[in-house]
Subunit: 122 residues, 2 copies
Amino acid sequence: MHITDAERKIMECLWQNHPATSTELGESLESATGWRQGTVKALLNRLLNKGAIEAERVGRGYRYSPAVSREHCVSEASQRFLARWFDGRLAPLVAHLSDHRQINRQELEEIKALIEELEDES
Amino acid sequence: MHITDAERKIMECLWQNHPATSTELGESLESATGWRQGTVKALLNRLLNKGAIEAERVGRGYRYSPAVSREHCVSEASQRFLARWFDGRLAPLVAHLSDHRQINRQELEEIKALIEELEDES
DNA sequence: GGCTTGGGTTTACGTCTGTAATCGAATTCA
DNA sequence: TGAATTCGATTACAGACGTAAACCCAAGCC
Protein backbone atom coordinates (compact mmCIF):
# COMPACT_ATOMS: atom_id res chain seq x y z
CA MET A 1 0.00 0.00 0.00
CA HIS A 2 1.78 3.08 -1.19
CA ILE A 3 0.03 6.39 -0.53
CA THR A 4 1.23 9.33 -2.59
CA ASP A 5 1.47 12.78 -1.13
CA ALA A 6 -1.71 14.12 -2.68
CA GLU A 7 -3.54 11.01 -1.56
CA ARG A 8 -2.12 11.42 1.91
CA LYS A 9 -3.83 14.78 2.22
CA ILE A 10 -7.16 13.13 1.56
CA MET A 11 -6.35 10.43 4.08
CA GLU A 12 -5.42 12.96 6.75
CA CYS A 13 -8.88 14.46 6.42
CA LEU A 14 -10.52 11.08 6.65
CA TRP A 15 -8.43 9.90 9.56
CA GLN A 16 -9.41 12.99 11.45
CA ASN A 17 -13.06 12.79 10.65
CA HIS A 18 -14.92 9.87 9.12
CA PRO A 19 -17.10 8.84 7.54
CA ALA A 20 -17.26 11.88 5.32
CA THR A 21 -19.00 12.67 2.05
CA SER A 22 -17.05 13.81 -0.94
CA THR A 23 -18.64 17.21 -0.60
CA GLU A 24 -17.40 17.59 2.94
CA LEU A 25 -13.96 16.45 1.90
CA GLY A 26 -14.05 18.75 -1.09
CA GLU A 27 -14.82 21.72 1.10
CA SER A 28 -12.09 21.00 3.65
CA LEU A 29 -9.54 20.39 0.98
CA GLU A 30 -10.54 23.24 -1.26
CA SER A 31 -9.71 25.69 1.48
CA ALA A 32 -6.61 23.81 2.58
CA THR A 33 -5.12 23.03 -0.82
CA GLY A 34 -7.10 24.88 -3.47
CA TRP A 35 -8.15 21.66 -5.16
CA ARG A 36 -11.41 21.55 -7.12
CA GLN A 37 -14.08 19.07 -6.14
CA GLY A 38 -13.31 16.98 -9.22
CA THR A 39 -9.70 16.63 -8.12
CA VAL A 40 -10.78 15.35 -4.75
CA LYS A 41 -13.18 12.92 -6.34
CA ALA A 42 -10.53 11.52 -8.65
CA LEU A 43 -8.17 11.00 -5.74
CA LEU A 44 -10.91 9.29 -3.77
CA ASN A 45 -11.31 6.86 -6.64
CA ARG A 46 -7.62 6.09 -6.77
CA LEU A 47 -7.68 5.45 -3.04
CA LEU A 48 -10.72 3.19 -3.44
CA ASN A 49 -8.98 1.23 -6.19
CA LYS A 50 -5.97 0.60 -4.06
CA GLY A 51 -8.12 -0.35 -1.09
CA ALA A 52 -7.00 2.48 1.18
CA ILE A 53 -10.54 3.68 1.82
CA GLU A 54 -14.04 2.26 1.86
CA ALA A 55 -17.27 3.75 0.53
CA GLU A 56 -20.71 3.14 1.88
CA ARG A 57 -23.66 4.22 -0.20
CA VAL A 58 -25.97 6.63 1.60
CA GLY A 59 -28.84 7.87 -0.53
CA ARG A 60 -27.52 9.70 -3.55
CA GLY A 61 -23.89 9.74 -2.47
CA TYR A 62 -21.25 7.91 -0.52
CA ARG A 63 -19.66 8.08 2.86
CA TYR A 64 -15.95 7.44 2.77
CA SER A 65 -13.90 5.94 5.57
CA PRO A 66 -10.27 4.93 5.85
CA ALA A 67 -9.59 1.23 5.33
CA VAL A 68 -6.01 1.48 6.56
CA SER A 69 -4.97 3.17 9.74
CA ARG A 70 -2.73 6.19 9.91
CA GLU A 71 -0.52 4.16 12.19
CA HIS A 72 -0.06 1.59 9.49
CA CYS A 73 0.85 4.14 6.85
CA VAL A 74 3.19 5.92 9.22
CA SER A 75 4.95 2.64 9.93
CA GLU A 76 5.43 1.91 6.27
CA ALA A 77 6.65 5.39 5.48
CA SER A 78 9.04 5.36 8.43
CA GLN A 79 10.53 2.03 7.49
CA ARG A 80 11.00 3.18 3.93
CA PHE A 81 12.61 6.41 4.94
CA LEU A 82 14.95 4.92 7.53
CA ALA A 83 15.90 2.10 5.18
CA ARG A 84 16.77 4.51 2.39
CA TRP A 85 18.91 6.90 4.33
CA PHE A 86 19.97 5.36 7.62
CA ASP A 87 20.34 1.68 7.04
CA GLY A 88 16.99 1.18 8.72
CA ARG A 89 18.12 2.56 12.04
CA LEU A 90 16.92 5.51 14.06
CA ALA A 91 20.00 6.48 16.03
CA PRO A 92 21.86 7.83 13.01
CA LEU A 93 18.90 10.08 12.23
CA VAL A 94 19.01 11.53 15.71
CA ALA A 95 22.74 12.06 15.33
CA HIS A 96 22.30 13.67 11.95
CA LEU A 97 19.61 16.09 13.05
CA SER A 98 21.54 17.12 16.06
CA ASP A 99 24.79 17.54 14.14
CA HIS A 100 23.01 19.80 11.73
CA ARG A 101 21.16 21.88 14.27
CA GLN A 102 17.83 20.60 12.99
CA ILE A 103 16.62 19.70 16.39
CA ASN A 104 16.76 21.77 19.53
CA ARG A 105 17.83 21.02 23.02
CA GLN A 106 14.28 20.90 24.22
CA GLU A 107 13.21 18.22 21.82
CA LEU A 108 16.22 16.09 22.64
CA GLU A 109 15.26 16.40 26.29
CA GLU A 110 11.76 15.31 25.41
CA ILE A 111 13.05 12.25 23.61
CA LYS A 112 15.30 11.31 26.47
CA ALA A 113 12.42 11.57 28.89
CA LEU A 114 10.30 9.47 26.56
CA ILE A 115 12.90 6.74 26.41
CA GLU A 116 13.28 6.71 30.17
CA GLU A 117 9.57 6.42 30.56
CA LEU A 118 9.45 3.50 28.14
CA GLU A 119 12.15 1.75 30.06
CA ASP A 120 10.44 2.25 33.37
CA GLU A 121 7.13 0.90 32.31
CA SER A 122 8.44 -2.39 30.98
CA MET B 1 17.10 19.68 -5.09
CA HIS B 2 14.93 16.60 -5.12
CA ILE B 3 16.71 13.30 -5.67
CA THR B 4 14.52 10.40 -6.74
CA ASP B 5 15.16 6.92 -5.47
CA ALA B 6 16.84 5.65 -8.62
CA GLU B 7 18.98 8.75 -8.69
CA ARG B 8 19.84 8.23 -5.05
CA LYS B 9 21.38 4.88 -5.87
CA ILE B 10 23.72 6.58 -8.29
CA MET B 11 24.53 9.21 -5.71
CA GLU B 12 25.30 6.61 -3.06
CA CYS B 13 27.91 5.12 -5.37
CA LEU B 14 29.41 8.51 -6.05
CA TRP B 15 29.42 9.60 -2.43
CA GLN B 16 31.27 6.46 -1.56
CA ASN B 17 33.78 6.71 -4.33
CA HIS B 18 34.46 9.66 -6.58
CA PRO B 19 35.31 10.74 -9.10
CA ALA B 20 34.13 7.76 -11.07
CA THR B 21 33.63 7.09 -14.75
CA SER B 22 30.26 6.04 -16.08
CA THR B 23 31.73 2.63 -16.85
CA GLU B 24 32.79 2.14 -13.26
CA LEU B 25 29.39 3.27 -12.05
CA GLY B 26 27.71 1.07 -14.60
CA GLU B 27 29.58 -1.96 -13.35
CA SER B 28 28.85 -1.34 -9.68
CA LEU B 29 25.22 -0.66 -10.34
CA GLU B 30 24.72 -3.44 -12.82
CA SER B 31 25.60 -5.97 -10.17
CA ALA B 32 23.72 -4.15 -7.43
CA THR B 33 20.56 -3.29 -9.33
CA GLY B 34 20.61 -5.05 -12.68
CA TRP B 35 20.54 -1.77 -14.59
CA ARG B 36 22.03 -1.58 -18.06
CA GLN B 37 24.80 0.89 -18.76
CA GLY B 38 22.39 3.08 -20.73
CA THR B 39 20.12 3.35 -17.74
CA VAL B 40 22.97 4.54 -15.58
CA LYS B 41 24.02 7.04 -18.22
CA ALA B 42 20.53 8.49 -18.51
CA LEU B 43 20.32 8.90 -14.75
CA LEU B 44 23.71 10.57 -14.71
CA ASN B 45 22.42 13.10 -17.21
CA ARG B 46 19.34 13.85 -15.15
CA LEU B 47 21.57 14.39 -12.14
CA LEU B 48 23.82 16.66 -14.17
CA ASN B 49 20.85 18.70 -15.33
CA LYS B 50 19.64 19.25 -11.84
CA GLY B 51 23.10 20.12 -10.66
CA ALA B 52 23.49 17.24 -8.24
CA ILE B 53 26.73 16.04 -9.81
CA GLU B 54 29.62 17.46 -11.78
CA ALA B 55 31.44 16.02 -14.76
CA GLU B 56 35.03 16.59 -15.65
CA ARG B 57 36.18 15.57 -19.09
CA VAL B 58 39.07 13.15 -19.07
CA GLY B 59 40.13 12.03 -22.52
CA ARG B 60 37.27 10.27 -24.26
CA GLY B 61 34.94 10.19 -21.26
CA TYR B 62 33.98 11.90 -18.05
CA ARG B 63 34.68 11.62 -14.38
CA TYR B 64 31.62 12.25 -12.27
CA SER B 65 31.60 13.67 -8.77
CA PRO B 66 28.83 14.68 -6.39
CA ALA B 67 28.02 18.38 -6.34
CA VAL B 68 25.79 18.10 -3.28
CA SER B 69 26.77 16.30 -0.13
CA ARG B 70 25.01 13.28 1.24
CA GLU B 71 24.52 15.26 4.42
CA HIS B 72 22.62 17.88 2.52
CA CYS B 73 20.32 15.39 0.83
CA VAL B 74 19.76 13.56 4.08
CA SER B 75 18.76 16.80 5.73
CA GLU B 76 16.28 17.62 3.03
CA ALA B 77 14.78 14.16 3.00
CA SER B 78 14.53 14.11 6.79
CA GLN B 79 12.78 17.45 6.94
CA ARG B 80 10.34 16.38 4.27
CA PHE B 81 9.59 13.11 5.96
CA LEU B 82 9.16 14.55 9.44
CA ALA B 83 7.04 17.39 8.12
CA ARG B 84 4.74 15.02 6.27
CA TRP B 85 4.07 12.60 9.05
CA PHE B 86 5.12 14.08 12.38
CA ASP B 87 4.48 17.77 12.18
CA GLY B 88 8.19 18.27 11.62
CA ARG B 89 9.17 16.83 14.99
CA LEU B 90 11.29 13.87 15.90
CA ALA B 91 9.89 12.84 19.28
CA PRO B 92 6.62 11.52 17.84
CA LEU B 93 8.60 9.31 15.46
CA VAL B 94 10.49 7.81 18.36
CA ALA B 95 7.21 7.25 20.17
CA HIS B 96 5.63 5.69 17.13
CA LEU B 97 8.46 3.28 16.44
CA SER B 98 8.60 2.18 20.01
CA ASP B 99 4.83 1.77 20.28
CA HIS B 100 4.90 -0.45 17.26
CA ARG B 101 7.87 -2.54 18.22
CA GLN B 102 9.85 -1.22 15.31
CA ILE B 103 12.81 -0.36 17.42
CA ASN B 104 14.47 -2.46 20.04
CA ARG B 105 15.59 -1.76 23.55
CA GLN B 106 19.18 -1.63 22.51
CA GLU B 107 18.71 1.08 19.97
CA LEU B 108 16.72 3.19 22.39
CA GLU B 109 19.59 2.83 24.82
CA GLU B 110 21.97 3.95 22.12
CA ILE B 111 19.89 7.03 21.43
CA LYS B 112 19.68 7.92 25.07
CA ALA B 113 23.43 7.64 25.41
CA LEU B 114 23.84 9.78 22.33
CA ILE B 115 21.64 12.50 23.74
CA GLU B 116 23.46 12.48 27.04
CA GLU B 117 26.74 12.79 25.24
CA LEU B 118 25.46 15.73 23.24
CA GLU B 119 24.35 17.45 26.39
CA ASP B 120 27.63 16.90 28.11
CA GLU B 121 29.75 18.25 25.38
CA SER B 122 27.93 21.54 25.10
C1' DG C 1 -42.50 15.83 -18.63
C1' DG C 2 -38.40 19.03 -19.49
C1' DC C 3 -34.69 21.72 -16.99
C1' DT C 4 -31.53 22.48 -13.49
C1' DT C 5 -28.37 20.80 -10.20
C1' DG C 6 -25.56 18.13 -7.19
C1' DG C 7 -23.24 14.18 -7.10
C1' DG C 8 -20.30 10.58 -9.40
C1' DT C 9 -17.55 8.43 -13.47
C1' DT C 10 -14.53 8.80 -17.35
C1' DT C 11 -11.18 10.80 -19.79
C1' DA C 12 -7.36 13.87 -20.33
C1' DC C 13 -2.95 15.68 -20.03
C1' DG C 14 1.50 17.41 -18.62
C1' DT C 15 5.21 16.06 -15.65
C1' DC C 16 8.07 12.83 -13.32
C1' DT C 17 10.19 8.12 -12.88
C1' DG C 18 12.31 3.96 -14.17
C1' DT C 19 14.25 1.68 -17.82
C1' DA C 20 16.16 1.22 -22.16
C1' DA C 21 16.93 1.34 -27.36
C1' DT C 22 18.90 4.09 -30.80
C1' DC C 23 21.80 7.31 -32.93
C1' DG C 24 26.15 9.59 -33.46
C1' DA C 25 30.94 10.69 -32.52
C1' DA C 26 35.37 9.11 -31.27
C1' DT C 27 38.80 5.51 -30.85
C1' DT C 28 41.01 1.50 -31.95
C1' DC C 29 42.08 -2.39 -34.70
C1' DA C 30 42.91 -4.91 -38.86
C1' DT D 1 41.54 3.52 -44.53
C1' DG D 2 37.54 1.03 -43.52
C1' DA D 3 35.38 -1.82 -39.82
C1' DA D 4 34.44 -2.63 -35.20
C1' DT D 5 34.09 -1.04 -30.64
C1' DT D 6 33.34 2.33 -27.10
C1' DC D 7 31.11 6.02 -24.90
C1' DG D 8 27.95 9.71 -24.60
C1' DA D 9 23.51 12.15 -26.11
C1' DT D 10 18.92 11.86 -27.65
C1' DT D 11 14.68 9.82 -27.87
C1' DA D 12 11.22 6.61 -26.27
C1' DC D 13 7.82 4.69 -23.59
C1' DA D 14 4.97 2.86 -20.02
C1' DG D 15 3.33 3.69 -15.49
C1' DA D 16 2.61 6.94 -11.59
C1' DC D 17 1.14 11.59 -10.04
C1' DG D 18 -1.18 16.01 -9.68
C1' DT D 19 -4.84 18.35 -11.46
C1' DA D 20 -8.93 19.02 -13.76
C1' DA D 21 -12.52 19.27 -17.55
C1' DA D 22 -16.27 16.77 -19.61
C1' DC D 23 -19.83 13.91 -19.33
C1' DC D 24 -23.70 11.40 -17.23
C1' DC D 25 -27.45 10.31 -14.09
C1' DA D 26 -30.90 10.72 -10.47
C1' DA D 27 -33.74 14.03 -7.84
C1' DG D 28 -36.21 17.89 -7.34
C1' DC D 29 -38.57 22.12 -9.40
C1' DC D 30 -41.64 24.55 -12.73
